[in-house]
Symmetry: C2
Subunit: 257 residues, 2 copies
Amino acid sequence: MNILVSNDDGIDSPGIYSLASALKEIAEVTVVAPHQEQSAAGHAITMQLPLRVTKYYRDKEFFGYAVNGTPADCVKMGIRNILGFYPDLVVSGINNGSNTAINIIYSGTVSAAREAAIMDVPSIAVSVTSHNVKDFSFAARIAKNLSLAVAERGLMKGTLLNVNVPNIPESEIAGIRITKQGKSRWDDIYEKRTDPFGRDYYWLTGNLKQEDNETDMDQGAVKNKFVSITPIHFDLTDYETYNLMKDWNLEHLVNEK
Amino acid sequence: MNILVSNDDGIDSPGIYSLASALKEIAEVTVVAPHQEQSAAGHAITMQLPLRVTKYYRDKEFFGYAVNGTPADCVKMGIRNILGFYPDLVVSGINNGSNTAINIIYSGTVSAAREAAIMDVPSIAVSVTSHNVKDFSFAARIAKNLSLAVAERGLMKGTLLNVNVPNIPESEIAGIRITKQGKSRWDDIYEKRTDPFGRDYYWLTGNLKQEDNETDMDQGAVKNKFVSITPIHFDLTDYETYNLMKDWNLEHLVNEK
């Protein structure tokens, strides 16, 4: 089995190191990851700037390719140019911080996996629910075991799995839940500051409005100590509105001045 | 009616100028757009860098706020800090180049509208199917008339409309189609070059594999000279796989070493 590993925290993050180490037990692993942190990069790709690839050695065990781009760039370039063939699986992570509910939209970790799904390669995104993870080994084991399950059963084309692991001792994990994307959103706050030259600038902060408590929702599952696995796809069509709008009779839009 | 206007081509692009001009006929318009082109920014948001807002005057008619960030940043900051209230509508565009099929995923234009939908503000993204549009006036009129229709009928929370207008003379437009997101994808090519210092770099290019010909798909509709209106949302859950995976019995993932 060939697995391409990427992330959004950057090639020197501890999460990708743990992930690659665990996956090497079951597969040939190639690491292609952003040179610098790309959190909240969403599904950006780099078209206005050239991309460069540099070799990165962390130690004797960990070698990878660093790309000066986004997580989606890394997967595109990793498959098209570095591997030169379609791997059996792409695994992205392990992310510092949960990628549940609305955060799925902003997440570079998920976008790396989604780029693989766009290329019809099965993929998994893995995150731990803390920005200060001390030990990724349990999440790495989940990633390894789920990779084996996906290799055995397959995924539908265009589907990826978004995994969130609670940042608690392994002994407290309540189990696994297959979940839906939650509804929790951010109350954004732009903190206004003044630079040394007297000019204003703003930092984005905010609070996640907790709206999901049920364990069949990603955010509710991890809150209740379950590992959450959410199957997601990228057919964004809102079929309910699609059917409703056929009765809007919008032909007049073209003719009205 | 209050309308917030943004885009991904940047505040000095002709498309946003035409859009704002048309919408001023029906609403109070506030423009908040990226300082620089942000094509393919996806749904990135800026968290690692501070944001700045500068006032931009193009002429006596066109005034706006330029933000050194992404399209999604502009909508967040436009609503939270610049307006300070929820507008009735957010309209994003008019983009140079179609945002159909897989391009919806990469599009900054669509992400600006999606950020509004995340904040429960109805929104519309508008694109013309050419990177060299000479005249945005027909697309601007469609945007204006569709804005009135949305103001009258409303949209479900979390739904936005993605509009693509063929780049052909108005007299050749075949009509309006309510459509689904198409399946066309890119065959990516990374063009390898060498810089003046002898180091390799890569530019992303490629060809769109045309897979959608039916006029009920966005890409097929514009190819057949229809204005395409696709209702999209951001619930990414793949419900079919969600139901299937309940039978995978994955509890062993937690215990297996």
